[in-house]
Symmetry: C2
Subunit: 441 residues, 2 copies
């Protein structure tokens, strides 16, 4: 007996063999997809604990956000339109210094609620308090790769490096593969400019030992690459990491706005995934990453929102459309990054970037049932000529009618099944707003 049968859906499988099924069904059993069929209802084996009629709905894989600082949700709208240094050093860092675990967790809950409601089923996170974040991920039913981005500057090299090592070891011991594999620990080097190479190597060794992905920020701003060249004998951040062997284990690098052709070649050679963050890169004035060139060169490009202090949203549908649009507008080529490619970035490529390529990102038998549904019964979703076009160029997070991870429904028709949303909203205002605003006053 199936746990869930989804019938009569317009299915975007993201399986290249048959990417769209106009009227099909999906059987779910034990958290996994048992079958995807091109018939509206299955001919045999129809019994299911629950039948979901998806008539008029687009059924598709849950989206994967490969670069987030989820807790920063508490700073959404707190510091906009500022020069990067003023934004970071005068607003964000001082505010972060005042946040305690209570406020951080209010932010994490808020961010996860937002992701669930807008169709994201898995995210890669880099922030502090990751063990507590893991608890929330576990209880909400989400999927996440969690990492504590190491920053070891100034006189506190050793102290910070030791702390980060300790934290990663305990994150691995307590949380790696927890929640039926939903939670993974990732290693992390915050960026080329925030710690010295011996710290990178220590993180890399831990990653190699434990088979982890390493998350990092890479070539986000022009200044970063110029400073790196000055500091490291003309080398780019990519070349610096490459030379230290950091790219020899799987790496998920966020941004990649300022990559030379040689950088792209090194990333391709090492199989590094790049998390393209179009909204954040524009908002902070960092620039426009050349996603279509990276894709052409065979780099695995996924999508991320970055933190909500530089976005100010976790809506991956916005990133999908913008990734397609920016590629066209910045190259003056309207055929660049077509809809299906953009959707791949947020699904199949995202799963690969998280080391979950055989687990999620497309709808096929044996994969985990991470599924979302879009309501098309709204003027902006019609007419419906082509489900992929509708999902990419017309849909928004607000059109998500159902979100499911490993066969568990987390959100349906506006209702959160694993979160007390009114409490989440209340705690964000009660805990977080006064703390952050105190600096402004």
């Amino acid at each position: 007996m199936l746990d869930i049968l989804i019938k009569n859906g317009i299915i975007i499988t993201m399986d290249d063999d048959r990417p769209v099924i106009n009227g099909g069904c999906i059987g779910i059993e034990g958290g996994r997809i048992a079958f995807v069929s091109g018939e509206n209802e299955p001919s045999g084996r129809a019994a299911a604990v629950r039948v979901i009629n998806a008539a008029g709905r687009i059924v598709m894989p849950g989206l994967i956000n490969t670069h987030a600082h989820t807790a920063m949700c508490v700073m959404r709208g707190y510091a906009d339109d500022l020069p990067l240094n003023k934004w970071l050093f005068e607003r964000i860092f001082p505010a972060e210094a005042r946040l305690t675990e209570r406020e951080v967790l209010a932010g994490v809950r808020l961010g996860i609620a937002e992701m669930i409601a807008s169709g994201t089923t898995s995210f890669s996170d880099m922030y502090a308090h990751e063990p507590k974040t893991a608890e929330i991920v576990l209880e909400c039913g989400m999927r996440a790769n969690l990492s504590n981005g190491i920053i070891a500057l100034g006189d506190e090299f050793d102290f910070e490096a030791d702390r980060a090592t300790r934290e990663l070891r305990s994150l691995i011991a307590d949380w790696h593969n927890a929640g039926n594999g939903r939670i993974r620990a990732d290693a992390s080097i915050h960026a080329e400019y925030t710690s010295p190479p011996w710290v990178w190597r220590r993180m890399h060794e831990l990653a190699a030992e434990n088979g982890l992905i390493t998350q990092l920020h890479l070539s986000e701003t022009k200044g970063e690459t110029e400073d790196c060249a000055l500091r490291r004998g003309g080398r780019s951040p990519v070349r610096a990491f490459y030379d230290e062997g950091i790219l020899d284990t799987p790496v998920l690098a966020a941004h990649g706005v300022w990559l030379s052709d040689e950088d792209m070649e090194l990333l391709r050679e090492k199989g590094v995934s790049v998390s393209h963050c179009p909204v954040s890169n524009l908002k902070l004035g960092s620039g426009i990453a050349n996603a279509s060139k990276m894709l052409e060169r065979g780099i695995n490009v996924s999508l991320g929102t970055d933190g909500c202090a530089s976005n100010n949203s976790h809506d991956l549908f916005e990133e999908i459309k913008l990734a397609a649009l920016l590629a066209k507008g910045s190259t003056l080529d309207p055929t660049a990054v077509p809809a299906y490619t953009a959707l791949k970035m947020a699904t199949v490529n995202g799963a690969r970037a998280q080391g979950r390529g055989n687990e999620t990102g497309s709808l096929k038998a044996g994969f985990d049932a991470d599924i979302i549904m879009l309501d098309t019964d709204k003027p902006h979703m019609r007419p419906l000529y082509d489900a992929v076009s509708t999902a990419v160029y017309s849909a928004r997070g607000g059109d998500v009618a159902l979100t499911m991870v490993q066969g568990r429904v987390l959100y349906e028709n506006g209702e959160f099944k694993t979160l007390d949303i009114q409490r989440v909203l209340r705690e964000t205002e009660e805990f977080a707003v006064p703390v952050v605003l105190s600096e402004k006053a």
Copy 2:
């Protein structure tokens, strides 16, 4: 006695004297704003036929879309990711040739429904069948400047020019200032490359005679400006229109992607408004208009969605955020086009571009009550530090909880008050989809 009292709202007035009121009320009488007060409830004169409690809601001016081809909604998602010529000549033009009035009107209804539901209260339209469009605008309670873009090419110069003249004369006679001023007839020249200068002059004379705004497409693509230079002795489209006197009456020019410094100076001198269409310009690979430079030079820049075949949405909140983002990302300056400026483009500047600067676009006493409300009781709208930031960087069309034009509620909590939405959706699929798809087969 007031018709409506809106109380307890977070009010974004877009009135520079006090742009945001954190807890105020608005009185509405006879379709106009009677007062905007900084108190949650008015101290005197509180009686109202209807009281709307806006607690937890952002109350703001309705948005103004200054470049739309609304009927093209029937082609949403029908032709994406194609080279411009293939898109236009092999898909859009053939499909348009097969559309009859019935399908066009289904598209107009769909587009207006989408606009109303996403907070747009006024739009500037350029398409065929404008008298029928006017009927729908009238019955839906919307506000619109309607124009029939003249295309007079090849052997049919005279015929098309005569027809366009006749149509504009009857649009003026039948519809100009109808619906208590909600409907206006605009003159229109489709573009520099689609009719000869004597046709432009004829349209211009009609505009001058009747005090009309003239809508046109201007410097949308690189090819357009290059061809113009070849054809017109090195002149740009702006210079060509300027030299013919076309800019001597008020002009609303869409796009402005490829403007030289001299072009901008001519536009400023003549007080031409430019409708920036960031999504469409990216999607068709036209480029990125330099909105911040235009604004700095004193040009009135408003926002448009363009037609839904090149967008594929009428959500002005998307254009607002993207206008702010693109200005920053393309200039590498995170302070370019801050939130309040972006919101002005979609409100105050839009009203001015439509010749309605004393009528709508901001919330102040004496102005028409074109008002929308945003629901902030959702994770992606919290925390609420700054209403302008939330409206620009976090809100989406789907967050609109109420839309009102001249004090009449058109949409509230998902319900359309002046449209049978199920019929609109059904007719779009029944009439329009088969007609458009017939060419694809």
